[in-house]
Amino acid sequence: MMARRRSPWDWLREIEREIEEEAERLIRQVKEIEVKTGCITPLYDVVETDGEFIVSVDLPGSDKSEINLEVKEDRIILEAPCKRPSPTSRHGNRYLLQLKLPEEIEPEETKARYQNGVLEIKLTKKSARRGVRINIQ
């Protein structure tokens, strides 16, 4: 029996299916972590610039004074109670985020601000350390 030739549409559908499966796997992973830790994994975003990682974390229902942010050279660990219990009640009322950074940073130079329930953390890359200015002849 002759095998049917694959059309470009078959390839596209396969790529689409792979993307969907990967998204599903990531979402399942997040839910499993939530169930195992009893904590809520907050929504977060990482933007990388030349010298920084800017991490923003959505923490509705948290209080600035109760956010515990620990910054290491290669990761950040964030814990915060959330005052409003999750409406779904399936998980605890505590946020937990452990984030491994793709590059080492200078923990002492970290800056963070909390505004309207979003925590923004600016992390300076080690590789961004200023060099020596050279006069051009």
């Binding site: 929504l43 975003d45 509705p60 229902g61 979003v118």
Partner: protein, 251 residues
Amino acid sequence: MSVEGSVVIYDNISDGRGKVLLEGFPDVGLVGSIAVSFLIEKLKLREVGYVDSDLLPPVVAIHNTRVRDLIRIYEGDRIVAMFSEIPIPMPLIRPLSREIVTWAEKHEIGRVVCLTGLAEPRRLDIETPKVFVIASNERFTEYLASSTGAETLKDGYIAGINAELLKVGARRGSDVGVILAQSHFNYPDPGAAAQLIKHLPKIIGEEVDITPLLESAEAIRMQMRDLMRRTAESMGAVQKSKELELPPVYL
């Protein structure tokens, strides 16, 4: 009932004539989803139908022991609303867009208005998000701009189902518009949704008090976390980041 391709819209709508169809599918900041679900509750719209397709995942929602479809249609005196509990799957975007416009025409629903967010990277520093409008034709763009008092989106890109709806509207000469509020990209943004609703009275024919929406903003953000995560994952497939770019000049 209306059928296009593999999409079927079942409805029991009483009279769509002259009404406006508000679409609020999951998208940037879930602005449309939050705004439309708030309006459905506040204006006490009746559930009158649903969308089905073999391109939808085999999932049903359970609310208060009732089995519900994922994409539902509601009707009020002046508006019809469409709401989805999941981001619209990529293969469904084109057939659903065509079907929505066909269905609206069949029911003589004069206008289709999509509510959504416009990703703003500096959203954290913005107290009052700006609202923009764009439509499938100049006349309807002008109508939306004057009715809402919002700015016209002059240059840029729209991606996803709202883009497809605009395209279908433009090709068929139908009035399809998009109203966008600056919002977080991948965090639920009830503040942006509230700002958007503030611009709608002339479109929907009545004022809606947004105080309850703002008061429950934290709970909404927590409740919609999972939908936002799923929507963020799906937005890559429709090149949503294109909305952050400007089109080339001279074209």
